[in-house]
Amino acid sequence: MLPQRMKKAITDNPKKLANLIDLVNLPSTLREFMGQSQTSRLGCFMRVWSYIKENNLQDPNNKNVVNCDEKLKTVLLGKPQIELAELPMLVKLHFSKASK
């Protein structure tokens, strides 16, 4: 049910899709983390998520929680610990600002 609704939402609202996949000039904090000056919101999310996986930052007791290292803190508002569920929103924060 949802996928159809979503497909419709995407086709109805191309802007939403654009703000997910369009390349954006990054603020300096993100630039350091990504090693790129431009990326899309989706690309940024994938990078952060793979960084978490590569460095085993998920809490061993509760996989839903990520213990941020210094580098990750720079992009995620300096929080020492975040929930995985928040991740897309936290990444989005950088981008909604950029688009304004």
């Binding site: 049910m1 899709l17 897309p88």
Partner: protein, 473 residues
Amino acid sequence: MGKIPPSFKGSQFPKSTLLKTPQSPSQTPLLTQKPQHFLKKIPNKRPSKSQPTPHPPPPPPSLTFTTPLLSDAKSLFNSLITATTTNKHTIPSDPRFFNSILQSYSAISSPHDSISLLNHMIKTHPPFCPNKSTFHIFLSQSCKSPDPTLSTVHQALNLMTSHGFPPDKIAADIAVRSLCSADRAEHAIELIKELSLKNCSPDTYTYNFLTKYLCKNRTVSAVNGFIRDMREFCNIKPNLVTYTIMIDNVCNGKNLREATRLLGVLAEEGFKPDCYVYNTIMKGHCMLSQGGEVLSVFKKMQEDGVEPDMVTYNTLIYGLSKAGRVKQAKSFLNVMAEMGHFPDAVTYTSLMNGMCREGNAVGAMALLEEMEAKGCSPNSCSYNTLLHGLSKERLLDKAIELFGLMKAGGMELETGSYGTFLRALCKKGKVAEAYEVFDYAVESKSLNEVAAYTTLETTLKWLLKAKEQGLVV
């Protein structure tokens, strides 16, 4: 065979891929014709390059043209001739060798240039005598060239006539197919009308090919107009295959009224509906979830003494399951086995689909075991159906177990089951697992990143909101 519909909700999947099975009957009659076409075509259009090898020192197998320039092509051909004569190689006398040269040149040049090259070849190498296939190369090339009129096609046909090959059925077939592949169906119809005035009407294969093309790409009224025109101008009547194609087309568009009309016309013409026609009609009713109608078509079939085939049973079981008559559908499992058609993965998946719709995912799991016990291995559709069903009923442990099996088998996830599974996981607070599923969906290329991520993002957004409101732990 097919895939599992993205969702179980009746109206949600107008073009269920499961329906591919029922569709196949109408294609089968066409398939049986096709080989004939290929038999005609292969010698024409694909002059085999390996043919020259029997000659002691193998001559250069073919020329490769890098530019569409005529002068370059000519000099390339000249160098081939001189090289072989100085080395005392023999150029194969087989016209197929020359045809292959022309074929490869025509792929990159304009029709006019290819004809010039042909003239040049005849002049510089008189032993070469163009045959029918040579002209078929030009014909198909001229049909594919962008041209608002049919003049280049006429040119090619005139060239054929002047070389002693007046257009025949094969030429008509090649022209129609090439024109259709260039999306010039209107021109194809025009050409057929012209040719039939010259006493060269297309054969039934060409006719059915064109009908099928029109069905796929034009409106129903355009198809009916074409059939009428053909009857009036060319005196070609549709046969049973034509009707099957047309019925299939209107059934896909859920236009059952037109399908019924066609059935009437078909009977008036003195045709007796065969298994394929019935399967197609049955599929139409399946699309509208008309379980009773599906059954009555099956009964009518038996009354008319038409032997149901595997596709009939699969359609029947699919239709009944979809309409919520799983019990009845299940009873046909034995019937079909008695008739010598053993239920396959499609049959079982249809049934599982029906059970999941009823909210009986546990029963569907039992059916999976039963099917495996009978030596029928489930495909990715079966697993996706089950995953969807289990997730929907929040039988999460079983769903996770099933997902493990799918992962081990490298099976693709479908949008529907992916979304439902993801939501079920998040609902139980298994966000990390949801991320794993997301990773798998992207890795296995079941979904593209954007679709997979959008679903994940929406689900997590919903989860945070629900948490705020204290709805989820």
